[in-house]
């Protein structure tokens, strides 16, 4: 039996194509995935992300606990409202999950983890928390709506006039409460916008208000093409428990500067990564997908995510290849038995509506 979010009836009513994702029945698209993608790049779109799990970490030891549990350092979050992206590692230095942690005040953090791994994550955190003065509170009472796109903030201000001040002043990667709504200027699309956590019973009204303000409902299909254009990893695809974050383009999220110990630190410090995550742009006609073989002069690799990029009109991918492979190199990718030509390109491929890889498209 698949789980459903509080907005499920709204998606059904809107004629969404529903698919299984991480144990949930979620909208894939509401008609056209590509049009939804363009709406986010050009104006504003919204995603029901209520399947993701919000977990509060509360107590006198909350900071010390998270500094030990997460590979990025929550001590960087000095002011309430600041947010941080981090991996949670196992002892082998593999990725248990990636998440965003919001600092809400002394002894109060809220983390948001992936839907498909939520139960595993909470179990993992609970084991690490044993004997510490922290409690974990799963906020399954909350709904989450991501409003993304160049017009997302103004649309949100229009939909919820009480939110206007927040909408105008909130800095990127920060969050603020508006009554019991937590509004964060974060997202998974490479565009400006908000992720709003609000009481579940209000989600249907909020969704309708955003729709009236001109925000287009978007499904998981567009969410995937948007995040891949933005060069953002997807857990389970670009990294997992057997992948080092250092070989998944996530070295920037691992804080080895602070002297604290964290789960996985010893394994990472002892490792010498030989692979790296690189962007690919397909030169030949076709579409890159995950798990396609890559041949480079420096050795073989594998695509981890691939798609057709609606913004570029080309196929793009992330691929784990020998670390010596560099932007500008030509590689071959096996697509349905044929070896096609791709160019290694830096990612993000697209940011704020603009291609960043024009030089690699010619």
């Amino acid at each position: 039996m698949l789980k459903t979010t509080v907005l499920h009836p709204v998606h059904r009513e809107a004629g969404a194509k529903l698919v299984e994702f991480g144990g949930w029945e979620m909208p894939l698209h509401y008609g056209s995935q590509i049009e939804e993608h363009h709406a986010v790049r050009r104006s504003a779109g919204m995603f029901d992300v209520s399947h993701m799990r919000a977990v509060e970490v509360l107590g006198a030891d909350a900071q010390a606990f998270l500094r030990a549990a997460l590979a990025n350092d929550v001590a960087k979050l000095r002011d309430p409202g600041r947010a941080l992206y981090s991996c949670m590692l196992n002892e082998r230095g593999g990725v248990v999950d990636d998440l965003i942690v919001y600092f809400l005040g002394d002894g109060t953090y809220r983390i948001v983890v992936n839907a498909g791994t939520a139960d595993k994550d909470v179990g993992w955190l609970a084991r690490l928390a044993a004997g510490r003065a922290v409690s974990l509170v799963e906020r399954t009472d909350l709904a989450m709506i991501a409003v993304q796109g160049p017009e997302a903030r103004s649309c949100a201000g229009q939909a919820f006039p009480g939110l206007q001040a927040v909408a105008e002043t909130l800095r990127p990667f920060s969050a603020a409460f508006h009554r019991d709504w937590l509004v964060a200027r974060t997202g998974y699309t490479g565009e400006d916008g908000f992720e709003i956590m609000l009481p579940g019973p209000l989600a249907t009204l909020a969704w309708a208000a955003l729709a009236r303000a001109g925000v287009r409902p978007c499904g998981l299909g567009a969410r995937d093409t948007l995040r891949l254009e933005a060069g953002m990893n997807l857990y389970g695809q670009d990294m997992d428990e057997d992948t080092s974050p250092l070989e998944a383009g996530l070295a920037w999220t691992i804080d080895l500067k602070s002297p604290r110990d964290f789960v996985g630190r010893a394994a990472l410090e002892g490792a010498s990564p030989t692979l790296a995550l690189r962007g690919l742009v397909l030169r030949d006609p076709g579409v890159l997908r995950s798990h396609q073989r890559v041949r480079a002069a420096q050795g073989d690799g594998l695509t981890t995510s691939g798609t057709f990029s609606p913004t570029l009109g080309r196929s793009i991918a992330l691929a784990r290849v020998p670390a010596a492979v560099e932007s500008g190199d030509t590689v071959a990718v096996e697509i349905r038995g044929k070896w096609l030509t791709a160019l290694v390109a830096p990612y993000p491929f697209v940011r704020h509506g603009q291609s960043r890889v024009d030089a690699y498209l010619k």
Binding site: G221, P285, V287, R289
Partner: protein, 130 residues
């Protein structure tokens, strides 16, 4: 609501076939297929002159979701491929029965046409595949 025009024949593999007065057969993918695939982003068509056998994979449709082989519903020679579609792939999603992919000059039509489904038979098969 999935459309299955009465006047067409259908393959179980989700191609439609329209018999033309000149004896050729026009082939495309069904409304059910385009709906299941989602937005189509790439098409690889067979070369004109290629000889195909019924059931042989001879074209590829890639959508935002996945790649799918398109099978020749009838044996024969490919006499035309709709290369105009390459710049307007959304037409396959908008009207799958207008956006034809290729034409076959059948070599064994009498025997093979009977193996195709009529609209009601295909609608039932598609419904079961949901």
């Amino acid at each position: 609501m999935i459309k299955t025009p009465q006047e067409l024949k259908y393959a179980k593999t989700h191609e439609w076939v329209r018999q033309e007065a000149d004896g050729t057969a026009v082939v495309g993918i069904t409304d059910f297929a385009q709906e299941a695939l989602g937005d189509i982003v790439f098409l690889e068509l067979p070369e004109v002159g290629r000889k195909v056998k019924a059931g042989e994979a001879c074209a590829v449709v890639e959508s935002v979701k996945a790649a799918s082989d398109i099978y020749a519903p009838l044996s024969g020679e490919i006499v035309a491929a709709n290369s105009d579609l390459a710049d307007a792939l959304e037409r396959v999603n908008q009207d799958a029965y207008a956006a034809w992919l290729f034409k076959v000059k059948p070599s064994n039509a009498a025997a093979e046409l009977g193996g195709l489904l009529d609209a009601a038979g295909y609608a039932a098969a598609a419904d079961a595949a949901k």
